[in-house]
Symmetry: C2
Subunit: 522 residues, 2 copies
């Protein structure tokens, strides 16, 4: 008997390589040049493919997935413009040190010289947001190139690996499925570095650990709390975190404020700053007459562990060196009795609703850049949860990242905190939430303006906006109807005008299986 | 008496330079680094500033504006991610040879070394879609740099000029308002080139003029019609046009089809192809076993005028040389008696509605990539109108381009033909239409799938989609409710399920002053 076998093409060898190396989710918005990859999805078991109706949804979802799964997903994007549409959230992912196997289809190798309408410099765009870029030369190489991309994406602290896949390398005859080499392990810090940090900590309360990267996960925070118990040092954390583990029973940090003045005032109390997975604190923006570097001139900065180093073992070594390894940590957040308020939807009142009602193990995706600026302290004692910030500052991050987090953690509730302005950038993510029945509650804080820019306009010394300038800062006339927008994409929705309504609707939203959007009118 | 004067800052000098050089519209989505530019809008008369809630709206609007105004608008984008969000429509604009003064704010020069969250390689991204890129070094130079950008944007056939504006160059003390040098005029073609084309045209009906660029404006088409009257040559035009002037009384062309097989069959009848503002025809995508170049091997290609040359005077010289200058043109489209059909919303029936009801001087923005593929022939005899295609193939073009066209031509009706899939990429444009009360009728062809990709999947030999592949090609489950989405952004809307409803609602929509969206269920 003769068995006819269809030979495997390059696209199929790539999908099989991804699955064989535990890259089992593909966020995609494909086009013609990616059709063989899409066809291969039918043939290969084990790949979950999730469609986004805009590429910013795709790249943001891959970011959210990595933050929660601690392993990369792949994307599948269509040519240079598809990559361009995904660029802002790839920027955010890179700043958050998320690993992504970012696959971009291209024209067939021989077609590129024709300057067809969609021909563009894909490598040039990719280079600006990637740690690793490769264009696969032929269909026999694509599996090996895919494996190399997986290794790169997994390399600590997480990297954007962009693999460009010309159409003929997808449809040509494949080589074998490839095994991705293990990434190099996180580097251990030296005894000298631990000793230098221990020495610096002798200054006690004028000393601070500044925690970032995976230094704000539960275990690292607990170690920091023990060190603080021994040395009385302050526990600071960066302004934005890819993923901080917070809530009652966990060690709490003081977040460096966004405001330059407030950040400078806080850091003025620090003479020895020890970086633990964090980088030297800088201002988010420059303002005339204000510093770019936030720590004081007399402050000495010591690095215990860089973001890509083994942060937990560095903290363990430091705690051990200080004799703090078995102390009870300080700065442990307590669950307070939260009194829900009534009345207008103030930021403080909203924070109280969150603090009271966040379910245990919730994942909070926070893009409430103005309304939520003060949410940190009042929610510190909520049920234990993960909180994901927009690390790269490119708005349009929240809804897509919530998609990826929900797919990484199907048993947990995702709460997306969104400004109306930032939500508009990638509102297409709502449709993906509906299609995939994701357990996401979206709170839209509808102040009907780019509220943050009102402060910024004054902050940069540009005065008080007149009519024309004000029109560029407001998103009213017409007001957005977020309930209508959500329903238009198949997401249940309602509107809350006061805190009682917010609390009631938030409770109901949390009880839903699928997505729910709640427009909070401010 | 002493007069206190506020010295002008760099941002104000730039806005004044733009207005002084007739760049009087700014499409924007600004952020902190652009606040001085926004503040200057209040101080300077003559700049219309239009807010988009996503940067793809901004760059697409600038493209549409140029196509209809024949002069550049400016954009104002926020840092690298803002540029990234605008990239796909800048790609489309560049392929359409639209001139844009593309202004991108950056961090203050001294802040860039801090690697703040929003720091990125702006020049690197800009280089991939720009003909001209400059980062202004200081506030005294910004007016001159702006003037240079204006000259570059105006240089035939239209260029993307990206000016990067660090925040401190915006807030520092300015130099004088600058005068933009006139761009170099379009180059005249030589007598030898005209003679070569005249010689080629002796082949008569086996010869074709292939018209593109501004070669498909009314005057050029009329000259082509005279030449055809004399030589019996075919009149072809490219598959996509930045702006073609069509309709009853105008010279009609045969559009090269999208399908490679159909294009090859058409061009097989051509032995002498004369390029008039067009480039050699190539396949939109590569397909296994099909050619990238569409003309036959025996076809001789002669260039009469490159896109940046003086196309009209080249055609005049050619007509003169042939003794065709005073002949009546052939291929003049006639206005047929169009019979409106009843029944289901077929592509043919929709085309008949457009042919019958398009108002005189309508501007059609066409991103109906699958439903509208056959609209060309049946609408050739509609009232005279302009038709704008998606030249660069990056979907998300139509709604933003309609915004820009409507702002360029406030007295004309804009009709946007949109697939539901492509409309989703930049649906935020609907809000700008509402805010600016733009006279735009949007027809959404709701087939609830990436219909074009079904054909492409088969075209590239990837077989028949199974369940998982099919899920990546459909945008159903849930269906999008376009009426709800439009109303959610303040745009009147309705839904048509058959051709009678479509004709009735389209008539009503055309009578509205502001925008109207009509969801055509297929």
């Amino acid at each position: 008997m003769r068995v006819e076998s269809t030979p495997m093409n390059g696209a199929e060898s790539l999908v099989r390589t991804l699955v064989a190396n535990e890259v089992t989710v593909c966020f995609t918005n494909p086009g013609t040049s990616e059709m063989h990859f899409v066809a291969a999805l039918d043939k290969v078991e084990g790949m979950r493919s999730v469609l986004g109706l805009f590429e910013g949804v795709v790249s943001g979802a891959a970011d959210g997935y990595y933050r929660m799964a601690d392993k990369p997903a792949s994307t599948l994007l269509h040519l240079g413009p598809g990559l361009g549409n995904g660029l802002a959230n790839l920027h955010n992912a890179r700043k958050a040190r998320s690993g992504i196997v970012n696959i971009v289809g291209d024209h067939a190798t021989y077609h590129r010289r024709c300057n067809a309408p969609l021909t563009s410099d894909i490598e040039g765009v990719a280079a600006t947001v990637s740690d690793w870029v490769r264009t696969s030369p032929d269909s026999a190489s694509i599996a090996q190139d895919g494996a190399a991309a997986i290794t790169a994406a997994r390399t600590a602290p997480g990297q954007i690996a962009t693999l460009i896949l010309p159409a003929d390398t997808a449809w040509g005859a494949a080589g074998a499925v490839a095994h991705a080499a293990a990434p190099p392990p996180r580097r251990n810090v030296s005894d000298e570095v631990v000793e230098a940090s221990a020495h610096a900590l002798k200054r006690g309360a004028r000393c601070a650990l500044l925690l970032g990267g995976i230094g704000v996960r539960e275990k690292a925070l607990e170690l920091a709390g023990r060190i603080a118990a021994k040395t009385d040092c302050q526990l600071l954390s960066e302004y934005n975190h890819a993923r901080i583990q917070r809530g009652a029973g966990r060690v709490e940090t003081t977040r460096i404020p966004y405001s330059v003045d407030a950040a400078v005032a806080l850091l003025d109390g620090v003479d020895e700053l020890i970086l633990v997975g964090a980088v030297e604190p800088v201002a988010f923006f420059a303002y005339p007459g204000k510093p770019s570097l936030l720590s004081s001139e007399r402050c000495k900065i010591t690095q215990l562990a860089a973001p890509e180093e083994d942060i937990v073992s560095a903290l363990e070594a430091l705690a051990e060196r200080l004799g703090a390894g078995h102390l009870a940590p300080t700065h442990v957040a307590q669950r307070p009795a939260v009194a829900l308020q009534s009345g207008p939807t103030t930021a403080q009142g909203i924070a109280a609703v969150l603090a009271a009602l966040l379910p245990e193990h919730a994942i909070v995706v926070d893009e409430s850049v103005s309304t939520g600026r003060g949410f940190n302290a009042p929610t510190a004692g909520a049920q234990p949860h993960d909180w994901l910030n927009i690390v790269g500052g490119a708005i349009g991050f929240g809804l897509p990242t919530a998609v990826g987090a929900a797919i990484a953690c199907p048993d947990r509730k995702v709460i997306a905190l969104e400004g109306d302005g930032s939500a508009m950038y990638t509102l297409q993510a709502l449709w993906t939430m509906a299609r995939e029945s994701l357990s996401v509650v979206v709170l839209i804080f509808a102040n009907r303006s780019y509220q943050i820019l009102r402060g910024e306009l004054s902050g940069v010394g540009a005065g008080t906006p007149g009519r024309k300038a004000n029109d560029m800062l407001t998103i009213d006339r017409p007001d957005l109807d977020w309930v209508g927008l959500a329903r238009g994409m198949g997401v249940e929705a309602s509107r809350a005008q006061d805190l009682d309504a917010l609390a009631g609707q938030f409770r109901r939203a949390l009880a839903c299986e699928g997505p729910y959007l709640l427009e909070v009118v401010l």
